[in-house]
């Protein structure tokens, strides 16, 4: 009789399948926190839409980015405006080129700069910071001294210097941005490595006979991931800003390639002639990208680094 009720049976079953409650990993916790941040999720979708636009937008274009529409050239303000009929969805630029195609190309450039620059910063910054922090001593002080020196120069000006010296091209631009973008990353990584390297689990690994290299690869770097993701996501808008800034000054990549900064600069130059779309379209894309990236970065920080609140 005793313990035959359905409720008791349920309890008994739960007890016998001990372990039914699974522990949640830190990563899962973080994901949960990020998913419940509505603003950040909205921004992820918005950014995804922009990426899709860059990837598949050209399929809808009636003009490519270099063609000049001679029909509108004399009278851009009246005939070059955005319209579906003429096929210039975003209008044309001052030279009669299709702004839709050029915006897609420019947005692509900006996104590429953000991604590749951040990837370079991740690789160089992590290597540099982990090496300095883990080895310590004189190596550490020399390596960090180099970072200090590079830090004391306004970084965008250094990028301009490199572009002047090595010639303006995509490769130079990436190398120039990559060569200065890793500084903050390396400082953060070094600080984290210093905090980690004297912890018990590292000592345990060493006592267990794990080689130093393996300790770094298997124990230090995985513990840096959260911080790395947060700072990488905040670095992307910084780099997009740097590149657009340089292009705005006319020192970035040259025609026929273009970037959002160059388009904004062109639009700003012609806004007195009644062709306001030339300014507003690239401006909208620039602000949308950096705005969403900031929100996503913030969301990631809240999710991965909750004590920073």
């Amino acid at each position: 009789m005793l313990g035959r009720s359905s409720k008791a049976a349920k309890v008994a079953e739960e007890l016998s399948h001990y372990g039914g409650v699974r522990g949640r990993s830190l990563a899962r916790d973080a994901l949960q926190r990020f998913l419940s941040n509505k603003a950040a999720i909205f921004c992820v979708f918005f950014l995804a839409a922009i990426v899709l636009f860059v990837l598949f937008g050209p399929a809808l274009a009636k003009w490519n980015n270099e063609e000049i529409d001679w029909a509108v050239l004399g009278d851009i303000a009246a005939q070059g405006m955005p319209s579906v009929q003429s096929g210039h969805y975003f209008g044309t630029d001052e030279l009669g080129r299709d702004l839709y195609s050029r915006t897609i190309q420019a947005t692509g450039t900006s996104l590429m700069v953000g991604l590749i620059g951040t990837a370079m910063a991740l690789v160089v910054g992590t290597t540099w910071g982990v090496t300095a922090g883990y080895l310590g001593g004189r190596v550490d002080s020399i390596m960090m001294r180099i970072v200090d020196i590079l830090y004391s120069v306004p970084i965008t000006l250094v990028v301009i210097l490199i572009l002047v010296v090595a010639g303006r091209s995509f490769t130079t631009l990436f190398i120039a941005l990559g060569s200065v973008s890793w500084l903050t990353m390396s400082r953060i990584v070094r600080a984290q490595t210093l905090a980690l390297k004297n912890r018990e689990f590292i000592e345990a690994a060493r006592a267990g006979g794990v080689s130093e290299l393996m300790i770094v690869v298997r124990h230090i770097i995985p513990n840096l991931l959260g911080v790395l993701i947060v700072y990488a996501s905040l670095l992307v808008p910084d780099l997009i800003f740097a590149e657009s800034f340089i292009s705005f000054l006319g020192l970035g990549i040259s025609e026929p390639y273009t970037s959002l900064g160059a388009l904004i600069s062109e639009g700003a130059g012609t806004m007195g002639y009644g062709t306001l779309w030339q300014l507003l379209v690239p401006l909208f894309f620039y602000v949308s990208i950096t705005f969403t990236m900031f929100f996503i970065g913030d969301g990631l920080r809240d999710a991965l680094d909750p004590k920073d609140r």
Binding site: R145, D148, I149, S152, V153, P154, I155, T156, L157, V158, I160, L161, I162, L163, V164, V165, A166, G167, P237, F241, S244, F245, F248, L249, G250, L251, G261, I264, S265, G267, A268, M271, G272, L276, L279, L283, Y286, V287, T290, F291, F294, F295, D298, D308, R309
Partner: protein, 307 residues
Amino acid sequence: MLAYTIRRLAGSIPTILVLIVASFFLMRLAPGGPFTSERPLPPEVLANIEARYGLDQPLWKQLWDYLLNIILRFDFGPSLVFKDRDVSDIISQGLPITLTYGLLTFVVATVVGVSLGVYAAMHHNTWVDYLAVSLGIFAQSLPNFIMGPVLILIFTLWLGWLPGGGWNGGQWPYLIMPVIALSTSYIGSITRITRSAMLEVLNSNYVRTARAKGLSERSIIWRHTLKPTLLPVVSYLGPVFVYVVTGSVFVDIYFSTGGLGQYFVSAALTRDYSVLLGITILYGVLTVIVNLLTDLAYAWLDPKIRL
């Protein structure tokens, strides 16, 4: 404190030296010089010009002379493009202008950002707070080269209230737009930094004690929380200075204010190495000094740091 200052100053000398040497060699490695033109100059003429500017000397000799001139006479050599103008002339002409609106930007961004941040934190989780946070992020994604054209569009083209550029001895109508354009995105970030620092302080135990004692909210904010709140803001001022310096390049170009940035960009386009090098070194030295000052301010604000 004095010993620390001297130690830091001594420590920054090698930094500045390395900066000069590195940028010197970077420049000289560049293909094409200021005298490369469409029509190649006859070799004799080129040799004469190079002798005039000392470019025919061995590299180490050029570097040594350059260093000595900077240290002894604050002389960055002649401009390679503008005849009869020294880099020092250009600097002494452009720097006061850049510093004027640069410092103003600094002050505006800090004062507005800190006030907004404190106000938002005092009204935590109300609509004021949310508005301040969203505006902060929005302002952060409005860098100078976005704000510049937008401001000119509104205030010069549409409303006709402000002049679209120029300097005119730094009269205030010419200062407003450069300062707003430069400060907007830093107002955003300073607001957010201040807000989260203030929230942390407001939740600390000693503030609760102060409240329990019955102190007025006003005196808690002014006497007890403002100083610790400013700590992270102060450590952010170094980077802000670097950004303002960089942004001044945009302002000088876009608003034709005649500051150093204008010379920097035209030197970059014409490969005027000596001007480029002089301005980079100057900005590097200024950055080192500002970083030193912020560290000192930090030490003064933070009772935990004993020098």
